[in-house]
């Protein structure tokens, strides 16, 4: 080799897959591995775009047979009504079985206490882990993506959790080639992230390509919101606005769907998939930075929650 480096023709072979096809194929492979290796898998389903995408990929992976998994929704009690309606519609349409773990029930029973800030996302961990134990789920699909957050960037596709659902980042199994190791002791389970390698933009482009229906709150609409910690939160019975916070009607949409107490809307006039994709491609804010209050609690907020069993 000389200083003029090897010249490579920039031509991919006709066999090269597009990035979306490559990601789709990989995710389908992961779903089928779990179906082949585990006894009682479950898909965490919140009605958000990532879990909707997971379900779509699972439907494709096993077609024309039904998806061999049930769904689990951890209901914070502060969910968007449009999202719950969407959830129930999808479950009925595909003949799926849905388990619901309810944060509200835990609070009513005195097993969980409402936080002073009213944020319920962190409260999901206990109902989630208890539902996993109760139903003896051994593989739990989550829609987490490594591009979301720096602790998630360290997450394996198959992530072993102990009997307390804890994640220990220092004891992760190296993950080599596409050889996923799902071995676990009774009581332990594996969190599986088929969308690990997808970015927010990939998710949206794939939703557009496959023409997947989404809850309406992902598109620009007028909504009564108020400002808290720099984010537009939906006004409602869940606890906002408080004194000194004033409600106004704005044209907004959501980039993530979570608990109303900590999921912010963004100003947007994107009413179509194409407009949303253009908006995201130009955005200077990450999905979580723009819309999630719970990640702003500390530098290691996500890592700490994941260690406790959060997904």
């Amino acid at each position: 080799m000389t200083s003029a480096a090897t010249v490579t023709e920039g031509v991919d072979s006709p066999y090269a897959l597009s990035h979306l096809d490559a990601l789709e194929s990989e995710a389908v492979h992961i779903f089928r591995e779990v179906a082949g290796e585990f006894e009682r898998p479950v898909i965490l389903f919140s009605g958000g775009k990532d879990s909707i995408l997971m379900l779509h990929l699972a439907l494709k992976a096993f077609a024309p047979a039904p998806v061999p998994f049930c769904l689990l929704h951890v209901d914070t009690g502060h969910n968007f009504p449009e999202v719950l309606a969407y959830r129930d519609r999808v479950v009925a349409e595909h003949g799926l079985r849905l388990h619901v773990a309810s944060v509200q029930e835990y609070i009513d029973a005195g097993k969980l206490r409402e936080r002073p800030d009213g944020v319920r996302n962190p409260l999901q961990t206990v109902p989630l882990t208890e539902a996993i134990q109760e139903h003896r789920f051994d593989a739990v699909f989550g829609g987490g993506r490594r591009d979301e957050e720096k602790a998630r960037a360290k997450e394996r596709v198959f992530s072993l959790r102990d009997e307390f659902s804890q994640w220990d980042p220092r004891r992760q199994r190296p993950e080599l080639w596409q050889l996923y190791n799902g071995r676990h002791a009774p009581g332990e389970h594996v969190r599986v992230f088929p969308l690990s390698n997808w970015t927010e933009l990939d998710v949206w482009q794939y939703i557009a390509r496959e023409d997947i229906a989404l809850p309406g709150i992902y598109f620009a609409h007028e909504r009564e919101v108020f400002k808290r910690s720099g984010m537009w939160l939906t006004a409602g019975e869940w606890g906002g606005p408080k004194e000194g916070e004033s409600v106004e009607t704005r044209l907004v949409r959501y980039r993530t769907v979570g608990d109303m107490s900590c999921t912010g809307a963004v100003d947007s006039d994107a009413t179509t998939l194409d407009a949303v994709i253009t908006e995201i491609a130009a955005s200077r804010l990450t999905e979580r930075g723009a819309t999630r209050a719970d990640d702003k609690l500390s530098e290691a907020a996500m890592e700490d929650r994941k260690r406790e069993g959060y997904f």
Binding site: E9, V11, S13, A16, S25, A63
Partner: protein, 455 residues
């Protein structure tokens, strides 16, 4: 590449973009974080809230300038110790391609991390400090890239600004590295003189090195071909799952689902199922709901076969004219990735494609010293980060290909049956490409290795 409305528009178009997986390797002070930071930053992958978080965290620690390592060190322990202890995956995109970067730590003791990152990489960037040239660590990185058969290797000679952008310095390093890596069987090496700090030849062409006529790092990443000619590959489909709807409309549908591990499959082609050896023909191929005549790696498909024969997860479907010979004896190069050692006589599980079988470690023939590529015979055991040659006997016959022919069907894991720990990453068959018993001139020791080595 600046973030303009035009770029955003291009990014929004998913057509004609492919995915490149690559890994970075470099010693602690070679400037790997700076290179990664610049690639991420200049491709718009570091967004303003992430930068603000880094600035705030840096300030809190009393640092004046934002510490870009905080962008990539995701774990509490990493930030506390200021080191990277684990592989992290990062994502960025240009209008031409999406990238998955396996950001692997450079410490000597973390060979397993580079092995992990390199196992799925199409390309590896090996960073060298222009002032130091090719050092032991560089040889180690080249050896790991060769072992894992990463198809493309980029030698990024960094800190060119500190050697006066001297062409001779670059040429000497590039020559030494290329000679070494070619001997190991690295198929393609591209040398690029860069300054990650100043930004020379990373994203923008350098104004300081007009003697260099090649691509920038990003340009090369964007244009390097991601898949190879598959017509000469052995076609392989490990069966993952049998799809049988058993519904009123589809009472007889029986599909064999899996991701094509290598090569291509066509409708009408005669195929053999291993290990049973039964033969039939491909009656149809379902590509996730779409019926196709031909499918290739790495597509996830469902094969329909003409005859109703007994097939289950773990079986391998191959063209009848090109079937590997199943065997219970596996010879392989391995990298030990667990803290507990691997010993002769140990009972393990071996996971190969979708099949997991019992196995026993019959022999550990040698351990490789990566520093000078010398072999230490019969070490008795391998510990974390060791690379060695082993013989394993399996309870059932396995149809392994040579890793040299197929990274996917030539690779396997050894797993501890007691607690499920992933012990060892294995690469079946001979190692380091062509292997005609290369005699490596061990410059570090100054003595040529008489026996050569068979890694």
């Amino acid at each position: 590449m600046s973030t303009t409305a035009e770029t955003a528009q291009q990014l929004a178009d998913p057509s004609a973009t492919t995915l490149l997986r690559f890994a970075t390797a470099g010693s602690v002070d070679d400037g790997k974080s700076t290179l990664v930071g610049r690639l991420l930053h200049d491709s718009k992958s570091v967004l303003s809230d992430q930068l603000e978080a880094v600035e705030a965290a840096s300030l809190k620690r009393g640092q004046e300038a934002p510490d870009l390592a905080l962008l990539t060190d995701g774990l509490r322990a990493e930030r506390e110790q200021g080191i990277t202890i684990d592989v992290a995956y990062r994502y960025f995109a240009t209008a031409r391609r999406r990238f998955i970067l396996a950001d692997t730590p450079g410490h000597v003791q973390y060979t397993r991390n580079m092995v992990t990152g390199a196992s799925t990489a199409d390309l590896a960037v090996v960073l060298v400090d222009a002032r130091n040239g090719v050092i032991e660590q560089t040889r180690r990185h080249a050896a790991v890239a060769a072992l894992l058969r990463v198809p493309h290797v980029v030698l990024a000679v960094n800190k060119m600004d500190l050697v006066g952008y001297d062409e001779k310095v670059f040429a000497a390093i590039a020559e030494e590295f290329t000679a070494y890596a070619s001997e190991l069987g690295v198929p393609e090496i591209t040398g690029i003189p860069i300054s990650a700090l100043v930004g020379d030849n990373v994203v923008e062409p350098s104004a300081h090195m007009d003697w260099y006529g090649g691509p920038t790092v990003l340009e090369h990443l964007e244009t390097v071909p991601v898949s190879h000619d598959l017509t000469s590959c052995h076609a392989r489909l490990p069966v993952q799952y049998v799809i049988r709807p058993q519904t009123a409309e589809l009472p007889d549908y029986r599909g064999y689902a899996g991701q094509i591990a290598a090569g291509t499959f066509r409708v009408g082609e005669p195929v053999t199922v291993l290990p049973s050896g039964r033969t039939t023909k491909v009656a149809g191929i379902d590509l996730l709901g779409e019926s196709v005549d031909v499918a290739w790696t790495p597509q996830s498909v469902t094969l329909l076969l003409e005859d109703d024969i007994d097939i289950s997860r773990g079986d391998l479907i191959v063209p009848s004219g090109d079937a590997p010979t199943p065997s219970q004896d596996v010879e392989a190069t391995v990298c030990h990735v667990a803290d507990q050692p691997l010993t002769v006589g140990q009972r393990v599980l071996l996971k190969h494609t979708t099949r997991t079988v019992k196995a026993i470690v019959k022999e550990i023939e040698s351990r490789l010293t990566l520093d000078d590529l010398s072999q230490h015979p019969h070490p008795g055991r391998l510990v974390a980060n060791d690379i060695g040659r082993v013989k394993v006997r399996t309870a059932e016959p396995l149809a392994l290909d040579s890793y040299a022919d197929s990274r996917r069907t030539g690779s396997f894991l050894l797993i501890d049956p007691a607690d499920g720990t992933t012990l060892t990453a294995g690469m079946a068959g001979e190692s380091f490409a062509t292997h005609k018993s290369v005699t490596v001139a061990t410059e570090a020791a100054g003595v040529p290795d008489e026996d050569g080595w068979d890694f």
